[in-house]
């Protein structure tokens, strides 16, 4: 069963003079096992939208249903929320316990799992995020490096075995190696746990590598959505909006403008190299 959002509108301080509508009649479905990339610049409503997915905020009007549980209803919300794991941008908002082990077990314990199951999950989660159990389990989360903190925060959510994993800028502030590692990790959970992933990122290069579906938000509305090929073939438009489309997509569109004959839907360097190879080989003239 998917997450279904219908005509979702959310207004901050609705009714007051400061009322501000952050989301406007959003329709969106997140299917089981799907990898959805959510892009849009600051203030486009991304953060508000993902907080609706696990009921941290409730719609002003419209419906959010997680596997059929209506997130506007207090009782159903608890059940729906248990299915949606949410990782916020900065691990510092989340880490609090004395040891990494205890911190990761916070979520599973809140789920009232028995001690054995909690232990099993904590170990599994640490393995998945690449934190060596013997080395890290008894460390204080506050002594860790930035990358390690992020892994711990991720593990804390993974250990709850969410059916939907929602990530807000999971790679912000990491160096290239860190970004690659986190991206690979997320893809790994998805395969091993079979969960759906919703990832918010400014970096479309990162989304281009992994997403099945891309949703572009603008001014609280869905500006467009579709496969990466469909979305990134409109690289120029996205760039105009102040977003950063994948480099290859922008270059492909620039080359076409200058006279190259290239197929549509190029958004990775490898694909662009292939296309240029083909063009060079004469296929471009066909």
């Amino acid at each position: 069963m998917p997450i279904v959002i219908e005509k979702l509108t959310y207004t901050y301080q609705s009714g007051s003079v400061n009322a501000f509508t952050a989301l406007h009649e959003i329709d969106l479905t997140i299917n089981d096992g799907e990898f959805v990339g959510l892009i849009g610049h600051t203030g486009s409503g991304k953060s508000t939208l993902i907080q609706q997915l696990n009921g941290l905020m409730q719609p002003t009007s419209g419906i959010v249903k997680v596997d059929g549980y209506d997130m506007s209803d207090k009782k159903q919300r608890a059940k729906g929320r248990a299915l949606v794991g949410m990782v916020f941008q900065y691990p510092d908002y989340q880490l609090f316990d004395e040891t990494v082990y205890k911190d990761i077990s916070f979520g599973p314990k809140n789920m009232k799992l028995d001690a054995e199951e909690v232990d099993r999950r904590v170990r599994e989660a640490m393995r998945l995020v690449g934190l060596d159990f013997d080395e890290f389990a008894e460390k204080s989360p506050f002594e860790l490096s930035g990358g390690e903190k992020r892994r711990t925060a991720l593990a804390g959510i993974i250990a709850m075995y969410p059916k939907y994993l929602v990530l807000d800028e999971p790679m912000a502030g990491l160096d290239p190696a860190g970004r690659r590692a986190v991206l690979k990790m997320i893809d790994d959970f998805r395969k091993q746990l079979g969960c759906a992933v919703v990832m918010v990122s400014h970096s479309m290069d990162d989304i281009a590598k992994t997403a099945d579906k891309v949703v572009v938000l603008r001014d609280g509305k869905i500006y467009t959505s579709g496969t990466p090929e469909e979305i990134f073939s409109r690289a120029d438009e996205l760039y105009e909006m102040g977003l950063e489309p994948p480099f290859a997509a922008r270059l492909a569109s620039e080359l076409k403008r200058r006279g190259f004959v290239l197929p549509d839907g190029i958004y990775t360097n490898a694909a662009l190299a292939d296309a240029l190879d083909a063009y060079k080989g004469g296929l471009g003239n066909v």
Binding site: Y12, Q13, N18, Q51, N54, L56, R81, A82, V84, G85, M86, F88, D92, Y93, Q94, L95, F96, D97, F106, G107, N110, M111, F142, G156, I157, M160
Partner: protein, 285 residues
């Protein structure tokens, strides 16, 4: 969510009261408090209330806003009134039934205590409604700076207040984010007894504290980098200047104080009214 939070209760309109120098307003408040406390005659108190209403009118802040300050005292005020009414026994007896005795002294005292509290709270609230926390801080620093001679840390105090004002919205926003992060991990903040709930707050309080300490450290580095080295040799972008209006405000306030002192020593309306009304309760008895 807390982004639009306004600190204190500043009411942003342009008025002569808003434009008064914060130092003037602070001194005025002190003089006003003195007036409230030295008034002994309930009718002369009318003058003080009148002054209050006059300042409110000049400030262009709706009276209802100023009176909002009384709301938190809606239990305390009637309680104080009744306590004084029944407990004080002085002057003529107006009413007596079993152990309950109401005297003219009791009525006087009860009215006084309530009026004083209202006058004090509304006066202070008018100050914060018409003065931004920043200029209040500035005013305080300047007013207290002569005390530097006796090593009173006026500058440091003001700096601390400024930083607190700067970071309260940031911390509130952060608390909100942390709370959401833990709610998303299934934290239960609402059920259980008070101890359980207090314990449930730890996952929110600890990150908030840890982050605040890191903030403090980084802020200290940033301030050092900008050559901060205490109040010594500092100049200011905004120099407070007294204007004619400040002089007028002082004169009006001084006039009020003088009027209060003179009127209550000459008129004594209070006892005159009591003797005028005496036949009423004597007849009732």
């Amino acid at each position: 969510m807390f982004k639009d939070l306004t600190l204190g209760q500043y009411f942003p309109v342009d008025s002569v009261v808003h434009r008064l120098d914060p130092r003037t307003k602070l001194v005025l408040l002190i003089m006003y408090i003195v007036a409230v406390f030295i008034v002994k005659d309930i009718w002369v108190f009318g003058l003080v209330i009148g002054f209050m209403l006059f300042m409110t009118a000049m400030s262009k802040v709706p009276l209802s806003y100023v009176l909002k300050a009384i709301k938190p005292m809606r239990v305390l005020l009637p309680l104080m009134f009744l306590l004084n009414l029944f407990m004080i026994n002085s002057g003529d007896v107006i009413f007596s039934w079993k152990f309950i005795t109401i005297t003219t002294g009791g009525v006087r005292q009860a009215l006084f205590i309530v009026l004083r509290l209202i006058a004090l709270v509304t006066g202070a609230s008018l100050l914060t409604l018409t003065t931004t926390p920043v200029s209040l801080t500035e005013g305080l620093e300047r007013l207290l700076s002569p005390l530097k001679i006796i090593k009173f840390p006026a500058h440091e105090l003001a700096m601390m207040m400024t930083i607190a004002l700067r970071f309260i919205p940031t911390l509130l926003e952060e608390a909100d984010k942390i709370m959401k992060a833990q709610l998303a991990r299934g934290a239960d903040l609402e059920s259980g007894n008070i101890f359980k709930r207090a314990k449930a707050m730890l996952p929110i309080l600890i990150p908030l504290f840890v982050n605040s300490f890191r903030r403090a450290e980084e802020l200290a580095l940033a301030m050092e980098s900008r050559c901060y080295h205490g109040g010594e040799g500092r100049t200011r972008l905004k120099v407070l200047k007294f204007h004619m209006r400040d002089l007028w405000a002082f004169l009006i306030m001084a006039g009020l104080l003088a009027a209060v002192i003179i009127l209550q020593n000459t008129l004594q309306i209070d006892s005159w009214m009591v003797s005028l009304l005496r036949p009423l309760w004597e007849k009732a008895a």
